[in-house]
């Protein structure tokens, strides 16, 4: 059956479209719904979806990457196209959620906060790493609404299903830089460790990372060399190395970590990480600064 709404390259999506409008309007007893009633309810939902799309002043087509190793129709990666009514302020995440709730509940992606703090919906949208929730659909075209928005999982990561990628490697890299404060002599009780405004300012940007993985995905070197710590982990090391509350010995220990074979020296200053970071962290600059610190440290001992 075709709704004429989704031009699916493979027929998968429409058959899974479901909802309940009609049965509800008719005020039936739902506990006893039989298969015919269920089909009627679902057909009604499809009709309402069609209406919503037809009534919309403007629509946008989402071309979405699909893959599921377990489902025969999706074993071979493909793209599905969903037509979504456009409204002002709509983000890529809103559009994806609409497509999932109205057309195909199996469409899979991570998301949670909708406000660019949880870092779970980094996606490859129109050829660039972006947070779905922070990207206005309207901003994807120079003027007006884009005809098509192409949504793919983050490149250079293993796809688990649809838009979900495996983040384990990213987490491992983050954890390998000992990402925790190790100040030795913390004062007792309610006494604080003092920190100057300047020092806090110095580390401020580096503390904003939300672990979205966009930078890692955009980095050619990280893609080619899986051991490279990558921009996010190095930035995490920067966050602690530059924090005055950790003593000099620790700073040196941290510089040793990032200076190792797969550390800062792999960075070829291509700035792609800095360009995509949704938190505007000057990643390349931080990496460069650590390189300088490492050189200074070594000079001292030579």
């Amino acid at each position: 059956m075709s709704t004429g709404i989704t031009e699916t390259e493979d027929d998968g999506t429409e058959t899974q479209t479901q909802a309940v409008g009609a049965a509800r309007a008719a005020g039936e007893t739902y506990t006893e719904m039989d298969s015919q009633e269920i089909e009627a309810a679902n057909e009604e939902a499809r009709r309402r979806t069609r209406e919503l799309v037809e009534e919309a002043d403007r629509t946008v087509k989402l071309k979405v990457f699909r893959f599921d190793p377990e489902v025969p129709e999706k074993e071979e990666p493909r793209f599905d196209t969903f037509t979504v009514p456009f409204s002002k302020g709509m983000t890529v995440l809103d559009a994806l959620m609409w497509a999932r709730d109205q057309y195909d509940s199996s469409l899979t992606f991570r998301h949670s906060c909708r406000q660019a703090v949880c870092g779970s919906d980094a996606l490859f949208v129109n050829g660039r790493q972006r947070l779905g929730c922070k990207t206005q659909v309207a901003d994807l075209a120079d003027s007006g609404i884009p005809k098509k928005v192409r949504i793919e999982p983050l490149p250079h990561a293993e796809v688990v299903k649809d838009l979900v990628v495996d983040m384990e490697h990213f987490y491992d890299q983050m954890e390998s830089v000992e990402p925790y404060f190790q100040g030795e002599d913390t004062p007792d009780g309610l006494e604080e460790q003092y920190q100057s405004r300047e020092n806090r300012e110095k580390v401020k940007m580096s503390t904003r990372c939300i672990w979205c993985g966009a930078c890692m995905s955009s980095c050619n070197i990280a893609a080619g060399n899986n051991d490279y710590l990558g921009p996010a982990a190095i930035n995490k090391a920067y966050r602690f190395a530059m924090d005055d509350r950790e003593g000099e010995d620790l700073t040196e220990h941290r510089l040793n970590i990032i200076e190792q074979e797969h550390g800062v020296w792999r960075c070829q200053t291509q700035f792609s990480c800095t360009e995509v970071c949704p938190k505007d962290i000057p990643l390349t600059e931080h990496i460069q600064e650590l390189k300088r610190e490492a050189v200074k440290k070594n000079l001292k001992f030579w």
Binding site: Q18, A19, V20, G21, A23, R24, T29, Y30, T31, M33, S35, I38, E39, N42, A45, E70, V71, G89, R100, D101, Q102, S105, S106, T108, R110, S112, C113, R114, Q115, V117, C118, G119, S120, K134, V160, K161, D162, E175, P179, Y180, F181, Q182, P187, G189, L190, E191, E192, Q193, Y194, R197, R200, V203, K204, T207, R208, I210, F240, D243, R245, E246
Partner: protein, 611 residues
């Protein structure tokens, strides 16, 4: 089956703190969480943490402000514990390296917040929660605490005894999102629920999509009463199109609210002649909606929050994140234009009934954080009081579950704390469950045996059957049920409430419950089946929404965040008591318990709350 001493469900602020505490106490602890910890919604908190740190301030003043803010529905032993422990817990975070904002002398900064008599809100820019969450997760990594991330807990494994106070919790069941396996978790010391808020019961909310009240619903079905569910906080300053929060810190720094006529209505229309914009949240929310309802709003929907006069330097220094949020989610440059704001669902004051050790009436079951109600917020939470709640009561639950003696709790819990029953509540339909999965089970998912492993196994079998059925049958999708539920709550159980509306909402909830009997999961895959997760979450939302609406219908007074058209006064004579809703044989049982106004040194006398 996985076995640990302590299982913490949830990796937000409360869960992480609980896990660190249990670990410090020497327990083998694991965190089981549906999101990777750094994705938890604690990361969205903006404004700050209240802690009496400075000369001139005192935990006793903090306790007094909190008691007053709660409109005298908070329990003094809980509030005093919160205020006394908050300074050390806050400084603990500083010692763990949390990047707080700093004063010129290098000490952590504090700022004024609504309802506080001292500027005691300690903050890190306008992204305090992000830093708190990441700092604590760092400490979890440092200690090598086991984290099962992307594991969705579907049910608690409790023994089955007619009296909930005789039940024991031995673990829980989780769905491994990546592999699709259902797994049993056995905990010899205890299970700590730290699953966060339930804002998804409403349509316009500051909460994450993952905030679906799972822990609250699971504890409720296992037999723990839900305390004061009707008290839902609506935050006065959320962006109209998305519900994204504009922190109270903006008003704390001097931000001003204007109506469509350019009037500073908090003063000019007499809503709060002393505190103006810094009156407590319920007061400001109602003021804004009154302005809109009386035709003085903008586009019949919102009012303006202006911070332009604060100057670029101050705004960038202290509220930079707000500039980003306003720009990204509303297209407004906060340095150049006022920001449109309206009230939105924000926080659930009610929750799983616990005592000040985080313990529920079921042996081995704890709760902490937003899902819990130890009763520090009463009928209205003061801004900046939730983050200290996470660390104070998260820590206490962790220590207690791991065996530390925290002394006798002063707050009684469970049905034996009952003081009176509500009779003759006029609900449109008999509320409660339909189609109990196991007619023999009193507690949902309960088991007749006392053997821990067998209890977990039996619950696991039950969950397998439930999931299989939803995956195999044909049926309807949960999404529309969820959205109807959210609409009904937003329409009728919002800032302004009236009897008929609440009854309508209950009818819709009942209808959703019935339709849910025919719900099915269309995605046949075991890998990362979010369709299945969202379907299970929707059932939890139905349970949560029902307790909120029932509590709201029953409470015939106006207290804190609970405004009723028919009852325009606080009525201490009849209503100075906690609402309790317990799942009893699949029916919600409504009863009341006493509010504890007696503190360590003094008794808090209810006064008229004015700002």
């Amino acid at each position: 089956m996985h076995e640990h001493d302590v299982i913490v469900v949830g990796g937000g602020g409360a869960g992480l703190r609980a896990a660190i505490a249990a670990h410090e106490e020497g327990a083998d602890v694991a965190i089981v969480t549906k999101l990777h910890p750094v994705r938890s919604h604690t990361g969205a908190a903006e404004g700050g943490i209240n802690a009496a740190l400075r000369d001139g301030d005192d935990p006793k003043d903090h306790a007094y402000d909190t008691m007053k803010g709660s409109d005298y529905l908070g329990d003094a032993p809980a509030i005093e514990t919160l205020c006394e422990m908050s300074p050390e817990e806050t400084i603990q975070l500083e010692h763990w390296g949390m990047p707080f904002s700093r004063e010129d002398d290098g000490r952590v900064s504090q700022r004024p917040f609504g309802g506080l008599s001292f500027p005691r809100t300690t903050y890190a820019g306008a992204e305090t929660g992000h830093h708190l969450l990441h700092t604590m997760y760092e400490q979890v990594v440092k200690r090598g605490i086991t984290v099962y991330d992307e594991f969705y807990v579907t049910e608690l494994a409790t023994t089955d005894h007619p009296d909930p106070e005789e039940r024991e919790c031995h673990g829980c069941i989780a769905y491994d999102i990546k592999s699709g396996d259902l797994v049993g978790f056995e905990a010899s010391g205890g299970v700590i629920l730290a699953t966060g808020g339930d804002g998804q019961a409403f349509d316009h909310t500051t909460n994450a999509v993952a905030n679906t009240g799972d822990g609250l619903a699971m504890a409720y079905r296992a037999g723990v009463p839900v305390e004061d569910p009707e008290f839902v906080q609506f935050h006065p300053t959320t962006l109209p199109s998305t519900g994204v929060l504009i922190s109270e810190g903006v008003r704390g720094e001097g931000g001003i609210l204007y109506n469509g006529d350019g009037e500073r209505f908090m003063f000019e229309h007499g809503y709060a002649n002393n505190d103006g914009e810094l009156a407590s949240r319920d007061v400001v929310s109602r003021a804004e909606l009154t302005e809109v309802n009386e035709g003085r709003g903008i586009e019949d929907e919102y009012v303006y929050l202006d911070m332009r006069h604060l100057g670029e330097e101050r705004v960038v220094d202290r509220l930079e994140n707000i500039l980003h949020l306003a720009e990204d989610f509303e297209g407004v440059d906060g340095l150049d234009e006022p920001m449109p704001v309206k009230p939105g669902q924000h926080y659930h004051m009610g929750g799983i009934e616990t005592n000040e050790n985080g313990h529920t009436c079921i042996d081995g079951l704890y709760a902490a954080g937003e899902c819990a109600c130890v009763s520090v917020h009463g009928s209205n939470r003061l801004g900046g009081n939730a983050l200290p709640e996470l660390i104070v009561f998260g820590a206490r639950a962790g220590y207690h579950a791991a065996g530390r003696d925290l002394g006798e709790a002063r707050i009684p819990t469970g049905p034996s704390a009952r003081t009176e029953d509500e009779t003759g509540l006029d609900t449109p339909v008999s509320p409660g469950a339909i189609d109990q999965p196991d007619p023999d089970a009193v507690a949902d998912g309960g088991a007749m045996t006392a053997d821990p492993a067998a209890t977990v196994e039996r619950t696991l079998d039950g969950e397998r059957a439930r999931v299989e059925e939803m995956m195999e049958r044909d049926g309807i999708n949960h999404a529309e049920i969820r959205s109807d539920l959210q609409d009904a709550m937003t329409q009728n159980v919002n800032v302004f409430r009236e009897k008929e509306g609440i009854q309508d909402a209950l009818e819709t909830i009942r209808d959703c419950r019935e339709r849910y009997q025919n719900v099915a999961v269309a995605d046949p895959s075991r890998t990362f089946n979010t369709d299945l997760l969202h379907t299970i979450e929707t059932r939890n939302l139905i349970d949560v929404a029902e307790t909120i609406a029932l509590g709201a219908l029953a409470r015939e007074e106006f207290r804190g965040a609970h405004w009723r058209a028919e009852h325009q006064a606080r009525d201490d004579e009849d209503w100075l008591k906690h609402t309790m809703i317990a799942w009893n044989d699949g029916e919600p049982d409504l009863y009341y318990t006493d509010v504890l106004l007696e503190g360590e040194e003094k008794t808090y006398e209810p006064k008229i709350r004015s700002y």
